[in-house]
Symmetry: C2
Subunit: 208 residues, 2 copies
């Protein structure tokens, strides 16, 4: 398998964590978002959506990080990242989508570019926007978390895989994480695991 990735893409970061947790052999192919390489050939020949990440497999190319995570879970069930119980699984997915749909896409680089371009937003307005959607999302997620070591129990799940890259972004944009002690504790715990460490942006071959 080959993962098309960019060191600071949080959607790619999610897949890197899952590949590591499941010990799936893979190679990384860097696509530079700052140079808009994801919107040009040869990458768009692989993924017409023009977004990162994409996973190249023997069956073809799969786009969208959550679709990749679900597919990895189905085809590589060792080290499960979803509970087997349907209702518990639904709660984990709900947590994931609250990040992957309702925080991250609104703060995506292409949206920030639109804000500063077409809408002439200042850097300060852009940073406030960025923090606003994280704060909205984290406030409600913090309230739903129990007293477990990870988001849902004593092992990392897809919820933690979605949470950690979003916290990384929050710290980068100076969100006050002391407001979210449970999220912060889970973040620290995940980042003590080798699979998360190896997937971190600063440890990628294309890190700048």
């Amino acid at each position: 398998m080959k993962l098309y990735t960019y060191f600071r893409s949080s959607a790619a970061y999610r897949v890197r964590i899952a590949l590591n947790l499941k010990n799936i052999p893979h190679e990384l192919a860097a696509v530079n978002l700052l140079k808009s390489e994801q919107q040009a050939t040869p990458y768009t020949d692989k993924n017409p959506q023009g977004l990162l990440p994409a996973l190249e497999t023997t069956q073809g190319v799969l786009a969208q990080s959550l679709a990749i995570l679900e597919w990895l879970e189905e085809t590589h069930p060792d080290t499960p990242l979803l509970p087997s119980n349907s209702w518990e699984k639904a709660q984990v997915r709900s947590f994931c989508y609250a990040i992957a749909s309702d925080i991250h896409p609104i703060d995506n680089l292409r949206v920030l570019k639109y804000l500063s371009g077409e809408l002439a937003a200042t850097d300060e307005q852009k940073n406030t926007w960025y923090r606003h959607w994280i704060i909205e999302g984290f406030s409600s997620l913090e309230a739903t978390l129990g007293e477990h070591a990870y988001c849902f129990g004593d092992k990392p799940s897809l919820a933690d895989i979605c949470l950690v890259p979003q916290v990384f972004n929050a710290l980068r944009f100076k969100v006050d994480m002391s407001l979210y002690p449970k999220i912060s504790a889970i973040y620290a715990r995940c980042n003590s695991l080798q699979a998360f460490i190896d997937a971190a942006p600063e440890n990628q071959p294309d890190a700048q």
Copy 2:
């Protein structure tokens, strides 16, 4: 089951279609987005995320439309809405997320409110924004569609369930749908089915 819904919420619209396609008995409880009822009690007692939809079941309340759709699919496998083959399933999910993560949340009412409030965007700027993210998304999705009656084959799937509400929004905001003949044909075909007709915004008890 009780679905918390608003007639024009596209995420709620998705779940309404699925409940109808699967013939699952349910009641609807209207939550008025224009009055921000989703951000206040009693609704936030049910769904702390403060977003629509949420599904109340005998096991508890489930938030996030995609999590609800996946849970309905697992617990009510009649009239399947996902292929059984893992790779095909992954393609359907990828299509869904391209809408549910990369179009819809950026055009959500709360984002539009932020644009006109904090960023003082004009109505024209807001409408251009709205259309921009649909056009970006639909252009690549149109290119991935084959020559099937529905998005993936001869029966509706979760892909069609995500697509139809997004086309409804596109038409409302006057996106030139003639650019997307395959999407338009699928939209028309879905809207000839009773399950889609009954789920349409204009046919909801809370329609204004």
